[in-house]
């Protein structure tokens, strides 16, 4: 599978997921749990940053959770 095709498939899948989203999810009055810090996307930004930086420095891969690297000569 070519890289372009894989990217196109991924974007298509994302678009399909997006359209499917309209029928899922809680009502506004059911969002009590999502309002808590522990259910936020990144409740401990410094912990995530430290882990990402360590793994970026010691492995070939990067990215995923956010952008890669953050500009250091460590890899």
């Amino acid at each position: 599978m070519t890289r372009t095709l894989r990217i196109a498939l991924a974007i298509t899948a994302l678009a399909l997921l997006t359209s499917a989203c309209a029928s899922i999810g809680p009502k506004p009055w059911e969002k009590d749990l999502m309002a808590r810090k522990e259910m936020s996307v990144n409740p401990y930004p410094l912990v995530a940053a430290a882990d990402d930086h360590i793994y970026f420095s010691k492995e070939a891969s990067s990215g995923g959770r956010g952008f890669a690297g953050g500009g250091c000569g460590c890899n």
């Binding site: 749990l33 309002a35 996307v41 930004p45 912990v47 990215g63 690297g69 460590c74």
Partner: protein, 476 residues
């Protein structure tokens, strides 16, 4: 954090004592999408958040250690504005593999020590090294340049122990509703080390829909880096030497695009999907790293002796392709099964250097008695090798265009275990301690190894432990 392998003794003494708070890598600050961020239910206003932490990192066997104070601040305004600030500083020191293979014999390595015209007076060399006088050679910048020689005993992984660097980094970002789009944001980051600097600009669009249960994100990141290695930029695939190189710096640029969807699937389930694509071009070598050239029968690294009588290993500076594209897909799911909150993230990564990797991480927050919580985590990671990865080169074969023995570009599996123990001081502030242990395992005894290399562990992966102490406060 590229570790400056040469340090001037007087400067080192001065800098060891100064660990000032600098600025954090930009990308470490994530603005939470509106679909899932901590909010005050009464005010419907996201909490602002201040975080501060101290990280201590240590690799086994006297290898790299680092310490890093860091802080971040995200302030949410009434009109949907978000201001983010981040600061970090780290100092890194210890022994780092230079890329050469172990040998059953001692090996000498020579690196540059003093620039032409430098006023630095060298009386000793650090890291168990000795100062040597290099013979005059054509193109040499100093009439009688000095070199730093270090000796690695037989049956030891060659490492340079004179490794020291400091990094300061910071970021500032702003986002707000604009032109009917929920969040339009930009951020700027700068990071500087003794031999590396990086500028980053980022732009971000985010749009909520489906009763704020869905957030679509588009982020673009442009990074401009400059590598200024101590001793100059070596010519790739030429012999390692103590001569100062003519080229002082090289640049590299990188552009990344991330398309993401954050979805509140149900009252208790949050999901996130990111698709990333990045392209980098320019100087991507590790300027200090070498590849051994060995005898095809005995496996002994080749040696060379200069006209001044200095005997050293004959090894070549590595070379990596000047362009690299990266793709990754990241999926994260988090569930609130109060008092247990598990989170599973998966990532697939592939790049044009031939590396593919898979990552799986499971984190589970468990609310304990009183205001304590415990969050154990385990992470599994596996990567394949870059197409140009070689533990060593054979002396009877042609020198390839690209070669690197950097174990980070080799095939290995890594496992990380850890836990975070936290205590809620109030409803919106907490302190925590965190410990992690990671171990990389690769094939250090490949079947193709020749001669004495069959008896050596060629894989230079790490065993690392890190601890973090942090404070987090949410406020309006």
């Amino acid at each position: 954090m590229q570790l400056n392998k040469s340090r001037r003794p007087g400067q080192l003494r001065d800098t060891l004592a100064t660990l000032s708070l600098g600025l954090v890598a930009a990308n470490t600050i994530h603005v939470a999408p509106a679909a899932a961020q901590s909010t005050d239910e009464n005010l419907s206003l996201p909490y602002s958040q201040l975080d501060a932490a101290y990280l201590s990192y240590q690799e086994a066997n006297g290898r790299v250690s680092a310490s890093e104070p860091t802080a971040s601040l995200a302030i949410h305004g009434q009109g949907g504005q978000v201001l983010t600030l981040g600061l970090t500083a780290d100092t890194v020191s210890g022994a780092t593999p230079n890329g050469a293979v172990p040998s059953d014999l001692a090996q000498n390595f020579v690196t540059p020590l003093k620039a032409s015209g430098s006023s630095v007076t060298v009386t000793t060399a650090s890291g168990g090294s000795t100062v040597i006088t290099l013979p005059p050679t054509p193109g040499q910048l100093a009439a009688a340049a000095l070199g730093r020689m270090y000796t690695v005993p037989g049956n030891n992984l060659p490492m340079d122990r004179a490794f020291y660097d400091e990094r300061k980094a910071g970021t500032i970002g702003w986002s707000q509703p604009l032109f009917g789009i929920d969040q339009v944001g930009a951020s700027f980051s700068y990071s500087t080390e003794r031999d590396y600097s990086s500028l980053t600009f980022s732009g971000r669009l985010a749009q909520d829909f489906n009763d704020h249960n869905s957030t679509l994100n588009l982020s673009v990141n442009f990074e401009d880096d400059t590598s200024t290695p101590y001793g100059g930029v070596p010519t790739p695939m030429t012999a390692m030497s103590g001569q100062w190189k003519n080229t002082s710096s090289k640049g590299r640029t990188q552009t990344d695009v991330v398309l993401g969807l954050t979805e509140v699937m149900s009252r208790r389930w949050l999901a996130q999907l990111n698709v990333s694509y990045g392209i980098s071009s320019g100087y991507q070598n590790d300027p200090y790293r070498i590849v051994s050239v060995v005898d095809p029968v005995t496996g002994e690294p080749l040696m060379q002796t200069d006209t001044a009588g200095n005997t050293q290993v004959y090894a070549l500076y590595e070379n990596r392709p000047g362009s690299r594209t990266r793709e990754s897909v990241y999926l994260d799911n988090k569930f609130d099964f109060d008092p247990v909150i598990p989170e599973l993230s998966l990532r697939y990564y592939h790049d044009s250097w031939g590396i593919s990797s898979q990552t799986a991480e499971l984190t589970t927050k468990i609310k304990l008695f009183g205001s304590f919580y415990l969050t154990p985590n385990v992470r599994w990671y596996h990567q394949s090798a870059a197409s140009f990865f070689h533990y060593y080169l054979l002396s009877d074969q042609a020198v390839p265009t690209y070669a690197s023995s950097d174990s980070r570009l080799g095939r290995f599996t890594s496992l990380t275990y850890g836990a975070q123990l936290g205590f809620n001081l109030t409803d919106h502030s907490e302190i925590y301690v965190r410990g992690e242990y990671a171990r990389q395992q690769g094939d250090g005894h490949p079947a193709y190894a020749v001669g004495q290399l069959r008896n050596q562990d060629l894989f230079a992966g790490i065993k690392a432990t890190w601890f973090m102490v942090g404070y987090s406060w949410q406020f309006h």
